[in-house]
């Protein structure tokens, strides 16, 4: 029999994690769907479930000077209404599912689920998000890139839980979140792009691009981005062919029920090119 545990406190949750092997359920918007069963019968979970939805300690947004701390249980709708949340993340969250799901879904859950098509994860890559991962007696901080390793796969051990997401404060001169779903709302991405740039006096000071649903994890090539920091706008734009070439080995989409690899690949490159060529203008 599968065990269902509802801890009363965060501390108690850590205790349970140290003792058993649980799947952690926050909003349940992925797990309930994945384990769906015949109506009026319980979900068909294959392992023990730890329900953390009622842990109010994990529901917070705090400005800590150089970064914004987001408690793991903060839902999308709350984030959308908070003034300190970066606009590009809001633009992204507005295109995640519909209002009902956004009311219970969380960014931490989006990370834990580790879908290659996760829009929230994509934007967290762009923002250099760090995760505070805790287990009984210890905690670690890791860049999101180092936590997600493949479809549904993370470096989280059975004892660990995502406690907090930290967004370093950065000002960009332009950001973009562009998603291609099957329709304009309430759709899973066929391919998605997040971009950010800071331009001062015609010089590129920061350049970031992240692509989703085109590989097993989000693709963000920090070394390629760095190569162009300090260049003028036109120098970067003149290099569009080499920039795109740098992404070639990393854009390896699949065929599935939502789209096909040829299209995904083409649109991914179109998105890179379009962002680079318009990075100095407002959309």
């Amino acid at each position: 029999m599968v065990k269902h545990v509802i801890p009363k406190t965060y501390e108690e949750a850590l205790d349970h994690l140290s003792e058993g092997t649980f799947k952690v359920l926050a909003g349940g918007t992925d797990l309930m769907v994945k384990n769906r069963s015949w109506s009026e019968t319980p979900a068909r979970f294959k392992q023990d479930i730890l329900y953390i939805h009622n842990l109010e300690e994990l529901r917070y947004i705090e400005d800590r000077g150089d970064y914004l701390a987001i408690g793991a249980l903060t839902d999308y709708e709350t984030l959308l209404r908070h003034e300190a949340v970066p606009q590009v993340l809001k633009d992204c969250m507005l295109e995640i599912a519909g209002p009902g799901i956004r009311k219970v879904g969380t960014l931490a859950g989006n990370i834990g689920n580790a879908s290659p098509a996760a829009d929230g994860v994509l934007t967290l890559y762009l923002l250099d998000a760090k995760l505070v991962i805790e287990q009984k007696g210890s905690a670690r901080e890791a860049l999101i890139d180092d936590v997600i390793v493949g479809p549904g796969k993370t470096t989280l051990s059975n004892e660990e839980i995502i406690k907090e997401i930290r967004l370093p404060k950065t000002r960009f001169t332009k950001t973009r979140f562009l998603k291609v779903g099957g329709r304009k709302a309430d759709a899973i991405s066929k391919v998605a792009f997040a971009g950010a740039v800071t331009i001062e006096d015609g010089v590129v000071k920061d350049l970031r691009m992240a692509l989703g649903a085109i590989n097993v994890t989000v693709v963000r090539l920090r070394d390629v981005e760095k190569r162009h920091i300090g260049e003028t706008i036109s120098a970067v734009q003149d290099n569009i062919v080499s920039i795109k070439n740098a992404y070639v080995p990393h854009i390896k989409p699949i065929d599935d029920q939502r789209s096909n690899r040829v299209y995904r690949k083409r649109v991914a490159f179109n998105m890179i090119e379009d962002f680079i060529t318009t990075m100095h203008t407002q959309d």
């Binding site: 015949w38 019968t41 099957g182 329709r183 304009k184 998105m271």
Partner: protein, 699 residues
């Protein structure tokens, strides 16, 4: 004397409140003491023979029900009888029902159903169009002579995909034994189709089967013939188990195993004279029928009849095939074959015009049908046709010509498309008089309350409101004095199925006749019953064998204009605006008609560019509402709809058909808009971003 309100003036829908409040008792809301639950065990393979079935140990009170339990005939009575109630020896599509597991606890039923082991001898499935199960043909004039004297010919092939009805409420029944027979309450469009199919399978006397319509959460044709299949299965289970049983499909089960719109391929060949007038068309419409034919032949026929849409062409040769494939059987869906053909002909007309270097709009207008012209089947368009005025109005309110000119600049990636179209109202040919023979009753009780007794179903399209409004208006009594309960075959006569845009024109027409008679014979305080039977207009002549004559007693007409923008980066289509003009005779309630206009066009446009369904080796790839994409409110454009009065003498207050008309022109309108935006001919729908990319690359 008070002046009566115009019948079109809207009133509040009588069932809005019970539906919005959640009080409406849908099938899944029904619970009966001691009720059991049924789950279907299905074929996991596309084609093969059942070698052996190993059942798990069945606990006390749990049952299996299969073909061996059928009292009389293992076939579901439909237009063509080839669809088994349960697969007995051969399975022909993935998901084909083999047996039911029935019992009191759902989890146990589910686990038992999962534990049934079936060995198959697999056979090579057929997915190509090579096994034709139905062939139809008709001609008009002398097409060979037309092609012989043609100055040039133009040929194209068009393709359409699946469309899923995507009703909110899945298929379902609750059944229970009653008076030595069976009562079935369900989400259905056609109470008497269900009843007659069950009688046929069970070999029961007429009074042993009772069918009651529950509130229906959408149908779109998907609950026309398919519920007969589950009803027969449930009746077999009721006979064996003699307890109430709930039998409701899950969403994915419903999408994977129930009927959809037929994918199609249409060949079009036109002969043109020296002045570029179309003097003849040869056409073949091929439908993918899926594993069983069911009513696909009738869908094919309606599709073929639409071959020249709202154009007049003197010489035609039209053939059609339903191909049998090892996929889920396809069936009725709003439009019923017409959307496939109207897409083909609307694109074809444009493509001919472009190929001969003419302005498509002028080219189309020159071929537009006029009153007195011969139909595709050599019948006559007898009633006034106001299509030309409708097109003028559409052009004006959409600024069509200026936009069409501006968007010729390929850099805009914008386009505007116009379709115009007709839809035949009611059953094809002499179906109403030969097959349906509709009957309606009005019963007045001694308190002078009037009860509408018909088998027509309100599935959202409004007859619960409009029939009462119609009868009350003709009797000159308040609407509260007229009732129309959910049809129950114990009490209502067979007024025919709720299909083919016939409900208001045919059933409403009979009710109007009954109301007029009742008013004339009205005796206050006395019980009175008026019965009316369908009579075909005498001028209608139809030969089913040659498919010649008047295919429909009346036609509704429409014009759709759709404006789009295509993304240069993602090839996604944004539908910006839509303008629509409809001639449906007379609206019995304007707001209800406008509701049909909004919903029908959303569904029709989405068929053209958004809704993707395909199968891989017989397995549908989009099987839930996450992967099968239907439009949200964000996808639907701003719509401006106009209804024009053009009363049909035999319809109530002049009303003709509405429901299907509003869907059939959406796909070509959006496809033509996309065609202009990308500067490439669109020959296949849905025109997805993936296919738009391919068209831009390869032309």
């Amino acid at each position: 004397m008070k002046t009566k309100k115009d019948i079109s003036e809207s009133i509040r829908k009588v069932d809005s409140e019970e539906k919005i409040s959640g009080r409406a008792p849908y099938t899944s809301d029904i619970s009966i003491d001691g009720m059991l639950y049924a789950k279907t065990v299905r074929s996991p393979i596309a084609r093969g023979t059942i070698k052996n079935i190993k059942l798990p140990k069945m606990p006390e009170g749990y049952h299996t029900v299969d073909a061996s339990d059928i009292p009389k005939r293992n076939v579901v009575k439909m237009i063509y009888e080839d669809w088994p109630v349960f697969a007995e020896k051969d399975v022909n599509f993935i998901g084909e029902p083999i047996m039911l597991v029935v019992g009191p606890d759902k989890e146990t039923v589910m686990n038992l159903a999962d534990a049934v082991e079936i060995d198959f001898e697999e056979k090579d499935p057929v997915f190509d169009f090579k096994n034709s199960g139905v062939q139809l043909h008709f001609d008009k004039g002398d097409v060979d002579a037309a092609f012989e004297r043609a100055a040039k010919t133009v040929e194209y092939e068009y393709e359409t995909g699946y469309q899923e009805q995507a009703y909110i409420e899945p298929q379902g029944f609750v059944g229970y034994p009653e008076d030595g027979g069976y009562t079935l309450v369900g989400s259905i469009q056609c109470p008497y189709y269900v009843k007659n199919a069950v009688l046929d399978t069970m070999g029961e006397e007429e009074d042993k089967v009772r069918v009651i319509q529950a509130p229906v959460g959408g149908a779109f044709g998907g609950k026309e013939e398919f519920p007969s299949v589950t009803a027969c299965q449930l009746a077999v289970a009721l006979k064996k188990i003699q307890k109430p049983i709930k039998f409701i499909y899950e969403r994915e089960e419903d999408m994977e195993t129930t009927t959809k719109r037929h994918p199609s391929k249409t060949k079009m060949e036109a002969a043109l004279d020296v002045d570029n007038n179309i003097i003849g068309i040869r056409s073949n419409l091929a439908l993918d029928g899926g594993a069983y034919i069911g009513l696909s032949g009738v869908v094919l026929s309606r599709g073929m009849l639409a071959v020249t849409n709202a154009y007049t062409v003197d010489n035609l040769d039209v053939s059609g095939d339903v191909y049998i494939t090892n996929t889920v059987p396809n069936g009725a869906f709003r439009g019923f074959g017409a959307p496939q053909m109207i897409f083909a002909i609307e694109m074809f007309i444009h493509h001919i015009a472009k190929d001969v270097g003419e302005d498509p709009f002028a080219f189309r207008k020159r071929h537009m049908v006029k009153q007195g012209d011969k139909t595709s089947t050599s019948g006559t368009f007898r009633d006034p046709i106001i299509l030309s005025d409708m097109v003028d109005k559409a052009v004006e309110i959409s600024d069509y010509h200026n936009k069409a000119k501006a968007y010729e600049d390929k850099d805009t990636f914008k386009g505007i498309g116009m379709s115009w179209f007709l839809h035949g109202c009611g059953f094809t040919g002499s179906g109403e008089s030969d097959i349906i023979k509709a009957q309606v009753k009005l019963k007045k009780d001694d308190k002078d309350n009037v009860h509408i007794l018909v088998a027509a179903v309100d599935m959202g399209q409004g007859p619960k409101t409009t029939f009462r409004k119609l009868v009350a208006d003709l009797l000159d009594v308040p609407i509260e004095q007229v009732t129309f309960n959910y049809p129950d075959t114990r009490y209502v006569p067979d007024s025919g199925p709720t299909v083919a845009s016939r409900t208001m024109m045919v059933v409403g027409g009979l009710l109007a006749r009954a109301a007029k008679s009742l008013k004339e014979e009205w005796i206050a305080g006395e019980e009175q019953t008026i019965t009316k039977q369908y009579k075909q207009p005498e001028y209608i002549e139809w030969d089913q064998d040659t498919m010649r004559g008047d295919a429909y007693p009346a036609y509704s007409w429409g014009v759709n204009v759709v404006e789009v923008e295509v993304s240069k980066v993602t090839y996604e289509v944004t539908v910006k605006n839509a303008w629509n003009i409809y001639d449906l005779g007379k609206a019995i309630d304007e707001r209800i008609v406008l509701g049909q206009a909004d919903g029908g066009q959303a569904q029709g446009i989405a068929y053209g560019y958004l809704e993707v369904m395909n199968h891989e080796q017989g397995k549908l790839k989009q099987k839930n509402m996450t992967d099968y994409i239907i439009p949200t409110s964000v996808d639907v454009p701003k719509m401006e709809n106009h209804i024009m009065d053009n009363p049909y003498p035999l319809g109530p207050y002049g009303a003709k058909g509405v429901g299907e008309l509003t869907l059939v022109g959406g796909a070509p309108a959006v496809a033509l808009a996309i065609e202009q935006a990308i500067g490439r001919k669109v020959k296949k729908i849905p025109a997805t971003p993936e296919s738009i990319m391919e068209l831009i690359d390869n032309g």
